[in-house]
Amino acid sequence: MGERGETSSMGGGSDGAMDSFTSAKKISKRPKYSRFTQQELPACKPILTPGWVITTFILVGVVFIPIGLASLFASQRVVEIVDRYDEDCIPSRFKDKVLGYIQDEKTNKTCMRSLIVPKLMKSPIYVYYQLSNFYQNHRRYVKSRSDKQLRSNESMWKTTNCEPEALGEDGKPIVPCGLIAWSLFNDTYKFSVNNNPLDVNKRNIAWDSDREHKFGSDVYPRNFQSGGLIGGAKLNSSIPLNEQEDLIVWMRTAALPTFRKLYGRIEVDLEANKKITVTIKNNYNTYDFGGEKHLVLSTASWIGGKNDFLGVAYLAVGGICLFLAIAFILVYVLKPRPLGDPNYLSWNRNQAGRWN
């Protein structure tokens, strides 16, 4: 980089000398012809003719609108029940001292909610908890884990990034260490329909790759939540980490401060207008930072959960393209101009002397 140094102004001297030394060979300096060096490679030169423009716009519109309709339709078919319970699950006498209530281990945190199924929900029905204003993507939080420790028992001591949840009071490492694990979500839900309990399958809610490669089968919780400050859920120290799926799901940090995480699956169909009773253990403290808690029951279609945005966006873009196509046709009709009008370009001698 820097300056390109032409060695010296006298470099030519030696060049010239070299010429005479090599003159026996008499190499011509004529550049060799190739389409590459002459910049004549065969090329396609697309230009924006009205035909192309209109075709492109219409094509995009024609492709996008059906996609939009299909996604919107799919989204509409998804049945979703969302229930915010963080406020309602505080008993009225604790309304003024919410924090005291949630932080006190002795208070009864059980809370009953009833949900009405609006439409037939085919199994599997996914149960999510949704938190908001919870910055799982905060840099301090994201970094506060030890992948090595999670993976194998030997790396138990590798707790570099886990401070302040690295070592327990006995000076031994916490497994799993770090803020993420420490703040594990600990509300629990029990569902029943007409007093018949609904089973929630909590198996297989985490990614296979996590279970198999990131969380070791020989790693058992140790020293977890044993400190003075208890963050969230406790773990059964007899179950290896790779089977603690709630933890694994939680440890996959969310991208945005409002997020859902899979809690489990209900593997029976729910009829419309059925009333589901949910028994919630409202343990998790979102009140400190003003986060909301929602319980979500949702079916899934090919686009996943209920999400109109995709369909609307596709329709919008498709619509805009069609509109632009029409606009362009109008412009084309109203202001026809042969694109390559040579008159414009022919050099007018009298103009040449002028400034532009």
Partner: protein, 1185 residues
Amino acid sequence: MTRGLRRMLHLSKLYSFSCFHQHGEDKHAQIGRRGYTRIVYCNDPDNPEAVQLKYKGNYVSTTKYTAANFVPKSLFEQFRRIANIYFLVVACVSFSPLAPFTALSVVGPLVLVIGGTMAKEALEDCRRRQQDVEANNRKVEVYSRTGTFHETQWKNLRVGNVVKVYRDEYFPADLLLLSSSYDDEDGICYVDTKNLDGETNLKLKQSLDVTSSFRDETCLREFTAKIRCEDPNDKLSSFVGNLHYNGKDYPLSPQQILLRDSKLKHTDYIYGVVIFTGHETKVMQNATHPRSKRSKVEKRMDKIIYILFSALILISFVGSFVFGIETRRDLVDKKNRRWYLRPDDTTVFYDPTRASLSAFFHFLTGLMLYGYLIPISLYVSIEIVKVLQTVFINRDLRMYYEATDEPAQARTSNLNEELGQVHTIFSDKTGTLTCNSMDFVRCSIAGIAYGRGETEVERALVARRDRPSEAHEISNEVIDGHGNAVHSGKPIGHSVVKGFNFRDERIMNGRWVEEPHPDLIQKFFQVLAICHTVIPDVDRETGDIYYEAESQDEAAFVIAARKVGLEFFERKPTSISLHELDYERDKNIVVRKYELLHVLEFSSSRKRMSVIVKSEGDLLLLCKGADSVMFDRLSKDGRLFEDETRDHIDKYSQVGLRVMVIAYRELGQEEYEKWEEEFLKARVSFSADRDALLDAAADKIERELILLGATAVEDKLQEGVPQCLEKLAQAQIRVWMLTGDKLETAVNIGYACRLLRQGMKEIVITLDSPDIKQLEKQGDEEALAKACLESISKQIREGKSQLTSAEEGAMECGLIIDGKSLNFALNKHLEDKLLDLAINCASVICCRSSPKQKALVTRLVKQKLGKTTLSVGDGANDVSMLQEADIGVGISGVEGMQAVMASDFAIPQFRFLERLLLVHGHWCYRRIAMMICYFFYKNIAFGFTLFWFEAYASFSGQPAYNDWDMSFYNVFFTSLPVIALGVFDQDVSACFCLEYPLLYQEGAQNKLFSWCRILGWMANGVGSSIIIFFCTTNVMVEQAFRRDGRVADFEVLGVTMYTCVVWAVNCQMAISINYFTWIQHFFIWSSVAFWYIFMLIYGYISPTISTTAYMVFLEAATPSLLYWLSTLLVVVSTLLPYFSYRAFQTWLQPMPHDRIQSIQQECSEIETSKDKPKRPKEHTKHCES
């Protein structure tokens, strides 16, 4: 006498004796003092005293680095660039916990970039080293104590060695000439100094008398001497020293010094003593690093970098500000807000109690995180692109000149795009517009004009008068398949004999004897054959005679004389011999010898040259000179044909020919002897006014001349010059001709090369008026200067009003100004007015201008207008102009290397300038401009997604993507298509560039790199980032993103966003380029493909390495339809704004290239549908094969 004469002949021309004597004496007194301390022990380098002096050997190294200092020095060079320092700081900080990503992912690319550039430097240096090695290992014969010469390598030479250099060999070091094998024992030799000063004429060197007898090896055995001389310096034409030999001191002058890199000519061998070696030689001392020029685009790019730096600081500040507030709120009254972050027990980086400090540290993190706004790879990519562009320039067959075997040569890659922005061209005349080869075309002898055939100028004159019909015919010269101009009519520049383009059957083939005055005709050509300083060079094998002439017109004269039967074939110090046609007797060829008595040589003040010869008892003075001095010197009887001759001379100079008046006189023996005595007295005098005395003496004999006639020599235009200039004018590039010629010649050449055109109004500014002349004679300098100034400012005012009236009448103006006026016009008060006038004229001609004035004019336009200037020239006198201008273009091949060495681009022919500017310049400008815009676009689009993500991560500094994905963004996923854009993109093909020169204005007016456009692209980048971020987050996040109910987490969102970015920027590239070869396709689509492949591979390797990217793509993203659909949605919506803008803009407000593209499209359609005759397109003549 013999030797004296010969020396006179050349030497006084090379080194003014008077000058030498005046200053040389003082300097010789200084020997031994400071600056003059060098001592050389001749032929005795092993002398203990010599060894003690420790002069360096003859080893030469021109490399920038050595093995030892390469690393530190090149690193230092690298980090002189502000952006690199920024990256270095980032890399250092990345090892601290501040870093948002792993250190390796920051350091890796930096090392790659720096390492790459260093490798390039190393490679270039290696090449230089090879040249050095080659030079150092050349062989030379050196004398050894054993009494014989043996061969050794250049690098082994030491100060004091005696060397033997053969004919046509280069001198290995600066030598003192001891003796030479040339002719007699006078120790002279000829030297070719083309490599040093660019002058093509041979120089004569002469040894001291005391040493000139060392003709063989035995003589050298006893030779030892001591030279005391000046220290190494860079003055090529001076040398001070003396030779202490046999107890006596002999002064040395440059006359005895043979410089390294010059070449021995016409002499079988010489002996010399090495005085300066290696880097101490004058040529190496002269080696300078040329000032590095930077293009306007690059300067503007720096500004953009500053803008981006500010943007970077601004968003980092915003980020850290919000972060600080959020962090402070985390712990209020010992109560944790976001308890999951443990604000009560944290490090300084997140400490709520020291929130401002945390915010400051976070600011540093932000600088790193948003560092993508300042692309690390931009400089490297531009560097690569520019080097490849120069390859295209160097390899362009249409800028290769067969005759001299010279291709165009980009000597620097810094200025490629500047070629596309040229506003004004300053052109030298001689050697640049004209060939600097003189053709003898006309003569007037005894009042009769001879010579037919049209000169280029005449053709142009005809065209001027009879426009447009005939002019059209001339301009019909078409460009053939290889872009060479083919002239209609008689091919110019292909006359059978070089320097001779004379057609007249009355004179040729010996027919002149039948003309009315054969005796005068014979005299006339005798003058031409004898009165000159040409040296004949007889080819020993074929017997052909070549002439070695200092000025081209003398060669033309000698050739002309030969053509009519007076062949000059031998020059001896005392005589000149001709083969002459004896017309009076039997018309046989006889050898006639003319005894050369004196040469009264040419000087710019004398403007004439004479020789005094003796032939068959007659004493003759033969004289040729400029018409302005010659007519005053004619005798009464000698004016017989004066009127006719004057008439002819007028005609000749009107058509741009150089005129010389030829005269002679017969001398009486007595008169001559009297004069010679006086002359010799003047010559031996060593007083300061020796030159004046000599001139006065010469003046006395050059009188009472008898007029013979006049010659007219054509200064030939180079091939294709008028066509090229016309094209440049069409491209609205202003061309100024700066020449040392006189006004009339300059104007004529101006018309010939169509700088001035029919119907143009000439505005002439000159001091050639009677009043001024009157004042000059009075000699009152103050009054003169005042009068001149007034006159000039009045003329400029008048010119301005002429201009306005011409503009009303839709006429163009041409400004002609002479050097003397320029001196006054270039002062502070007038230069603005002059410039104002000049820039409104279509062409400007400055005649009689000195090299310095050329540079001043260039600087004036460059600085006052702030537009790009280009200077083109071929000789040493153009060097200052070439260096002053934004771009210096040297014409290579003819006049030595000086101009080429000082230039940025070298082309073998002026006409290639057209292609260099209109095609390469336009393309390079367009490519670099687009490339930079796009580069910023893609980095802003990427960098801002990070920022939006931050906004949703409470500005904690967490990057949205995996570390390595981010580091590879600029290296693998987006860099190759940009490079392809920078190297290959063409808006329209070369022939359409030439067909529609107006296209060039896009560059000259900087339309493609205007702030509007740059900011537009940046806004597009921000827009794309918004679309990418908000579409992907809204589509993916929160609800399940696949059928199995799983939700997208941080990693999946990152991958999706990244995929969208890669697609969007690459597709944006695809819709903004105009030229798709397979290379573009390959680079663009393989970049996208590579992202997927990378994700597959990177995601597949162990999670220890891939961390957050492990299996994300394969397991999570691929099976999700939403992932693919969001890619499609995002890509189309990011492209939509630009695409619709372009669609409407090309239709409603097309730029020139849009229009030309559609013409090109139409043409190719017509061609493919084969109905050409249906639509004959006049405007595509360049492009029809």
